[in-house]
Symmetry: C2
Subunit: 143 residues, 2 copies
Amino acid sequence: MQQRVSLITLAVSDMNLSAAFYEALGWTREESPDGVVAFDLIGQTLGLYSRDALARDMGIKVSDISGFSGITLAHNVAKKEEVTPIYLAALKAGGRGIKEPHDIFWGGHIAYFADPDGHVWEIAYNPFSPLGPDGGFQWNGVA
Amino acid sequence: MQQRVSLITLAVSDMNLSAAFYEALGWTREESPDGVVAFDLIGQTLGLYSRDALARDMGIKVSDISGFSGITLAHNVAKKEEVTPIYLAALKAGGRGIKEPHDIFWGGHIAYFADPDGHVWEIAYNPFSPLGPDGGFQWNGVA
């Protein structure tokens, strides 16, 4: 199994509402087949998919999709000052604030919010692990 | 907010057990600071982080990390025949089978398993959206 994630799927209750949330943050959706809203993440895709469809595909009950698994998606930014505007934009777009922008012990500046279905995003400035040329996070083993 | 995910964090109960699971699938960990096990995903990082630490950072209770949020991480493969060996390797490494490899209505061949903490992976062959040169999923709007 190679080290990569091709597609991140988020189960959602209301496809239009969730798509509008990400579009309000400035994202552009791809042409997608019925039943999926796809956002291109530079060689990776984030897909919104209905809770019913995911449960069907996985062979579980829709009611089994409940709670918080403990997965967070981090969006790293290049400057500390970029954290707050994104956090506020997410709240304005209908996201739920979990933790306001704050300095954290390892030297970064982070905030957490949830999208309309409770999927958790971390907006992070990490002065020790700068963003690479492709906008990706460059892990350097220091934090 | 640019369209990218810098870091995917998976909260885990036992860092060594979870790290061993991904290493058994052939992954190589990066040099990581204390408290994090990082795997490089080509310009992105997958990090294992303790449930206690994530709860502390988010300002929630550890007991709030429970259930299945409805996030799946898909690992797409280039050939249909690659799905089953990865699924079986995951089970052998201590993963839990959710849905065995099977053809799905949209023309693909997929399987679902959970890692030791219940984080859900989809192994997928999608004949309509081949893997790109970087190994990433190329969304082409057909499924």
